[in-house]
Symmetry: C2
Subunit: 355 residues, 2 copies
Amino acid sequence: MLNIRIEKTKDPKVLPGKDNPLKFGTIFTDHMFIMNYETGKGWYDPRVIPYQPLNLEPSAMVFHYGQEMFEGLKAYKTDDGRTLLFRPDKNIERANRTNRRICIPEIPEEDFLQAIKTVVKVDEAWIPTKEGTSLYIRPFIIATDPYLGVRPSDRYLFIIILSPVGAYYPEGLNPVKIWIEDEYVRAVKGGIGEAKTGANYVASMKSQVKAHDEGYSQVLWLDGVHRKYIEEVGAMNIFFKINGTVLTPELNGSILPGVTRDSVLALCREWGLPTEERKISIDEIKAAHENGTLEEVWGTGTAAVISPVGQLRWENHIMQVQDGGIGPISQKLYDTITGIQLGRLEDIHNWTVEV
Amino acid sequence: MLNIRIEKTKDPKVLPGKDNPLKFGTIFTDHMFIMNYETGKGWYDPRVIPYQPLNLEPSAMVFHYGQEMFEGLKAYKTDDGRTLLFRPDKNIERANRTNRRICIPEIPEEDFLQAIKTVVKVDEAWIPTKEGTSLYIRPFIIATDPYLGVRPSDRYLFIIILSPVGAYYPEGLNPVKIWIEDEYVRAVKGGIGEAKTGANYVASMKSQVKAHDEGYSQVLWLDGVHRKYIEEVGAMNIFFKINGTVLTPELNGSILPGVTRDSVLALCREWGLPTEERKISIDEIKAAHENGTLEEVWGTGTAAVISPVGQLRWENHIMQVQDGGIGPISQKLYDTITGIQLGRLEDIHNWTVEV
Ligand SMILES: Cc1ncc(COP(=O)(O)O)c(C=O)c1O
Ligand SMILES: Cc1ncc(COP(=O)(O)O)c(C=O)c1O
């Protein structure tokens, strides 16, 4: 149990108005959670303080050697005014898995959850209520040792910032076009692809820019060894429905184990849909498209929850899915998960946690 | 030509004493160079200011998505009091190659060199003069947009900090023991292994810790696809002398093109040694060790210049090299390169640049 000191801002910002589109990740609330770490001392001085800049030495290791982890989850306001988190235990578990992989000290799970709840509570008034909106929660840890050698840092900051975000698709669910990357590689077995750390995102930028320039909104990665097995999208896991079966790449060490991915698998199984987590080659997808059995494709991630995929492009092959529209399973998954998140559907899995 | 504003510190630190061991990367000089970038505006406001902390928003992209690059080079004081940089053009060229790979705007080469020279000049008194010491120069760029979406930043800081460093091996050249990693992977073809960016270093930490615990000072990486071709050491390129021929892995996109590597190849060729840049498998090294033709192994890098390797360990095979001592080519390379860096040997390649 942390003893969290709370220092409220004396200069609160004006809350964004009801019609503010709340562009993802641009507006931040009045407060942040912060806690220090030092070898020998452990995590110490947990506090909620006014949202403010960080003061770091130019030699701080995070600027040079990328020792940083982050997480992303959301808080939702229910119709009856409660605040719900969606499966925070999964994010916390994953955070510590990332920490272990990149030599950052772990944070006890109950302390992590307490920190999230405390700062969300302080800025509860910031949780937007319009359809499709939520409060995005960004916990992250950075290495702060003022030292230019390559080794794990002896000092860290654990920080949680909050950002009210609008509906990912303001006009409702909207199919995306996806570029399948055949030149660049995001991550490889034995590497850090399954960790949520900046390294995997900087590695994706060049390809992302190329895809954008070609009119595609996201990149789908192939594996780094054979360059033919499907991995994941920039910030989503990927699902295919082929001939009645729901397929998604297995957790192979180089993709992120998504919380939404896990929820989607659970729901599909409950609904009696056959599901398979396994290696899926791009050739299999192409063949399914050609013989008309590629029924649906969707991405899963905290930001958009479900992103129906209307088109896939691999080299010169353009594969249209569901005539570029939204498939019935994608829609049902979106409605069910957001229904649970907003407390409108019964939460039989105990996925939501009240703040 | 940059118009660099210079603001001198009013509170200079005490220079480290002659007997200070100057542990690598722990002491910083009185000043730093800094310059901003903004899309549409370009690089602006170049300045030398007192060494000071950076003030960054917690949402600054560098903390989340690892968009950061760095370089490392050295300035040396000659016996007659001149200040020499060693091949700064190579570092600057590599910096811009890194920038292109990770979507950071480039810096004109002449501006980059002017920035280095200017800040080194201001803190010239900090260049140590004792045998084996130098001034380590660390240029780096970080993404500062206060934005939580994954895309190249629109704002950056380019910073140069300086650190007086002691002899890497205080008692003279000293052979190191190297652990050949067979579980983790640092980088892969198609990825960002050839860029000098934090991602590659955070990816190495877990393996580095394991090697240290086993009594090895550095890790030698194998390729991520076949897991059998030699790549490079944590912060050095690697050379083998087998049966009279000097071998080093080719620049394959997943290893850093080292400046010292390039200098070593040039010198070996001048000396009439056969050299080969090509794929080298771990089996080839093991076979050479077994049949007695593995004559020398050394690492090359700015920090240590030449690091003779006395022992390699791959799985259960412990390979002793030069009876654990220093080979004649390693010694000659070290003497020649440091001789040129210190202005004691004729610089027929025009490798040094006077400040
Ligand atoms: C690389 C990557 N894959 C997948 C996901 C989806 O994970 P989750 O469902 O936990 O948001 C994300 C986003 O968090 C991601 O960044
Ligand atoms: C990964 C890596 N390889 C090789 C090197 C050696 O390069 P250089 O000789 O330019 O210092 C370094 C250090 O700079 C490095 O970090």
